[in-house]
């Protein structure tokens, strides 16, 4: 292996990249855009749930209940129904997600010490929001029941809870570090998955084959510029996360750099494998979506926690490299984890990098036809 040949290929690739400023710009724009969307637009916190109230009682007690509902901040009463039919219409059309009916004798039952009925219907299609909404309502009605009876008695068991690592339970702090892993995986694969297929498609591979360049030299040379771009993306993402979104970074920057390098190397080699096998840019793009984007997004635990998945899928996530990088990034950002805690995940990433690079070298046949 000669360094000068790697350098020559890298230089050629770099020239080609620079000649296509649009792709390059998008390579930088993509992480920034995704971080902005996740940082500003998306929140997993459920509040302002649209609610329609059908108050048949029209008493001070029922009005108090509605006031409690609104004051909690979780519900936004968008409509007061005059007729039972309106409830069905509102839920059908999606105007409201929750419908609460307060029956005629609600306040009379409470006054007489009888069980007062309260009817709640939720739109269950979005099961997550529905479950949370039902939980809120159950808690609210319990508190309301105690309050209007003037009970201030403390429950027998006091719960002292503390939250570690992310004391304010901000979803942004949990999503952004993991998101960086997803971005890196997608970018790595998008950038490299076409770079060898393109040479075959355009016919320039024959020219490369005619040169004395050897397979590992060609692959390393091809990867070098993308490695560089990937690292800029990484630095950009981390800077944005810390400065713009105020996500704490408690770990070591040195560890972050080393592990990111290993992950990036593996991700790029993986993209190269796809490119080598398919020899077609169209097929390559489709495969890289299935093999990188979807698993990185859905099976890495970056947002959908792995412990909730069905057993077979939990096992499947073990072969998703992004899973390990997500765990490492969350540890580095929020927990300030040291090498001792990260080593197991880091070893998997190293293994991934070694295997993909070896396979890429094996699969590449420097021959025409």
């Amino acid at each position: 292996m000669k360094f000068i040949r790697i350098k020559a290929i890298a230089k050629k690739e770099m020239l080609q990249i620079v000649r296509d400023p649009l792709s390059l710009a998008m390579g930088f724009l993509m992480p920034a855009l995704l971080l902005l969307i996740f940082g500003y637009a998306i929140s997993l916190d459920v509040d302002d749930i649209t609610t329609i109230v059908h108050d048949l009682d029209r008493s001070s007690l029922s009005r108090e209940l509605i006031a409690d509902l609104t004051a909690s901040g979780y519900f936004k009463v968008v409509r007061y129904a005059e007729h039972h039919r309106e409830i069905g219409d509102s839920l059908d059309s999606g105007v409201a997600r929750v419908a609460m009916t307060i029956p005629v004798d609600f306040s009379r039952d409470i006054g007489a010490g009888r069980v007062a009925r309260l009817q709640v219907i939720v739109d269950g299609s979005d099961s997550n929001t529905a479950t949370i909404a039902l939980g809120y309502i159950a808690a609210l009605s319990e508190i309301y029941g105690r309050r209007i009876s003037g009970i201030t008695l403390k429950p027998l068991i006091e719960i002292r809870s503390r939250v570690w690592y992310n004391p304010e339970l901000k979803s942004r702090n949990f999503i952004v570090p993991g998101l960086i892993a997803v971005i890196m995986m997608v970018i790595a694969a998008l950038l490299t998955s076409l770079c060898i297929a393109r040479e075959w498609e355009r016919g320039t591979m024959e020219q490369l084959i005619a040169t004395p360049v050897k397979t590992p030299e060609l692959i390393l040379g091809k990867m070098a510029p993308y490695f560089f771009i990937g690292f800029i993306d990484m630095a950009l993402s981390v800077t944005m996360a810390v400065l713009l979104f105020g996500v704490p970074f408690k770990g070591s920057l040195f560890l972050l750099t080393v592990i990111s390098g290993v992950f990036l190397f593996g991700g790029l080699s993986f993209g190269i494998i796809i490119s080598i096998i398919t020899k077609s840019q169209l097929v390559s793009s489709q495969i890289s979506v299935v093999a990188t984007y979807l698993p990185a997004f859905l099976l890495s635990g970056f947002m959908f926690s792995i412990s909730n998945m069905e057993r077979p899928l939990q096992v499947l996530t073990r072969i998703v490299p992004a899973r390990y990088f997500v765990a490492i990034l969350k540890g580095l950002f929020l927990k300030g984890s040291s090498v001792r805690f990260l080593i197991a995940d880091a070893v998997f990433l190293l293994l991934f990098a070694v295997i993909t690079f070896t396979v890429a070298n094996r699969k590449f046949v420097k021959r025409i036809g």
């Binding site: 296509d20 649009l22 792709s23 998008m26 855009l33 995704l34 500003y40 998306i42 997993l44 459920v46 302002d48 059908d92 059309s93 009888r114 007062a116 309260l118 709640v120 219907i121 939720v122 269950g124 299609s125 099961s127 997550n128 529905a130 479950t131 949370i132 039902l134 939980g135 029941g145 009876s149 008695l153 429950p155 027998l156 068991i157 006091e158 002292r160 809870s161 503390r162 939250v163 570690w164 690592y165 339970l169 949990f174 998008l190 393109r198 355009r202 840019q281 169209l282 097929v283 793009s285 489709q286 495969i287 299935v290 926690s305 412990s307 909730n308 899928l313 540890g331 984890s337 805690f341």
Partner: protein, 373 residues
């Protein structure tokens, strides 16, 4: 004249199909991508929180403390994986992300309970995953308070008794797969058609075969139709595939009209293929087409209500979603599957899709003509 035009489009469609499927792997891809997504969304992707890995540090070792742990386990939300012997272990397990919640029951817990003296239970939560953290705290709190209430019934008897009757419509068991799988239809069509359309057109230009097409009697409109019809057919095939799979394997209900499904898919396709064509007129290489497609696709998915409710977004982003065809199609398709909505409710969504479709198709046709000359 018209029949000649139809014949030319037909020839073009045939050529396109031969080209797409000459690569045997494409046949597999057209099958595998939709099925894989359906599987993953049917099985994996859920924001439902259960089986929360939990550690218990029980210093009291009494009947009451064991009963509390039993109730936590019996709820189905908590998986007690570790029973600890020292506080250092708690720290270690949380640091290594082995557990999300740790419950500490102090010595004297049962004694206090017997004497009706308020006592404490300590909960430690890993807040890294804020969603799970919140839900875990909420569940644990409710279970423990319920236990406290059962032990001292006198307090709760004084309170006004409210019988909360809860019902969930459309998805009574609150299963997330019922919500996600119909959405996959929208996702699959979007990704596959968008990427295939934009890349296939750019490929002709990159390889140089576009010039050959230009010397044929094909008119620009015929060329566009010939290029997009094959992908529309593939998209329809994928839609049927995911629907069949969702209904047969995941028991997703279809409560609405089966006529509206292909109709709305067709309208949705109009805007997706249009956007693919617009991208193809901007991109010069397949690399650019791939990057641009993703640059559009990812924000479109995130800002559609597919996984994250639109109402939770800041106003600015909520307005942005009005330009997103995925937003409308998701409402339609979920309405069709789960709510049994008909035309009388879904027409505004259909109209919006039709408008977006017309705009992007017109735009792409204008740009396409210019690029050809």
């Amino acid at each position: 004249m018209l029949s000649e035009s139809v014949e030319r489009i037909k020839q073009m469609v045939v050529k396109e199909f031969i080209q797409i499927f000459r690569d045997k792997r494409m046949k597999a891809i057209v099958f595998v991508i939709p099925l894989l997504q359906t599987m993953v969304f049917g099985y994996a992707v859920t924001m439902d929180v259960n089986n929360i890995p939990t550690a218990v540090y029980d210093l009291d070792r009494s009947y009451e403390s064991r009963e509390l742990v039993r109730r936590l386990t019996a709820s189905g939300y908590f998986d007690v994986l570790y029973t600890l012997g020292s506080p250092a272990e708690v720290q270690d397990l949380l640091d290594r992300s082995k557990v999300t919640l740790s419950v500490q029951i102090n010595r004297g817990f049962s004694a206090d309970l017997h004497r009706r003296i308020p006592t404490a239970v300590q909960l430690l939560v890993d807040g890294t995953d804020s969603n799970t953290g919140i839900v875990a705290l909420d569940y644990a709190t409710r279970i423990i308070l319920k236990y406290a209430g059962d032990l001292a019934p006198s307090g709760s008897q004084l309170a006004a008794r409210i019988d909360l009757r809860q019902r969930a419509w459309y998805n009574p068991e609150l299963k997330s797969k019922n919500y996600n799988v119909p959405g996959v239809i929208a996702m699959v069509i979007m990704l596959t058609s968008l990427l295939l359309t934009s890349m296939a057109v750019v490929r002709e230009r990159e390889i140089g075969t576009m010039e050959q097409l230009m010397v044929t009697p094909l008119r620009p409109a015929e060329l566009i139709m010939g290029k997009t019809i094959p992908f529309a057919i593939i998209a329809f095939f994928d839609m049927i595939l995911v629907t069949a799979f969702g209904v047969l394997v995941f028991n997703i209900p279809i409560n609405g009209s089966l006529v509206l499904l292909p109709l709305s898919t067709a309208i949705y396709l109009l805007s997706i293929l249009g956007i693919g064509l617009v991208i193809s007129t901007v991109a010069k290489t397949q690399q650019q087409a791939l990057m641009s497609t993703f640059l559009f696709y990812m924000p479109a998915v995130l800002l559609s209500g597919f996984m994250f409710p639109i109402e939770n977004m800041p106003d600015f982003f909520q307005y942005l979603t009005y330009a997103n065809p995925l937003r409308y199609f998701l409402i339609i398709i979920r309405g069709l599957f789960l709510k049994g909505n008909g035309m009388e409710i879904l027409w505004p969504q259909m109209a919006a899709l039709l408008i977006i479709g017309t705009v992007v198709i017109t735009l792409s046709a204008l740009r396409f003509r210019k690029r050809l000359v």
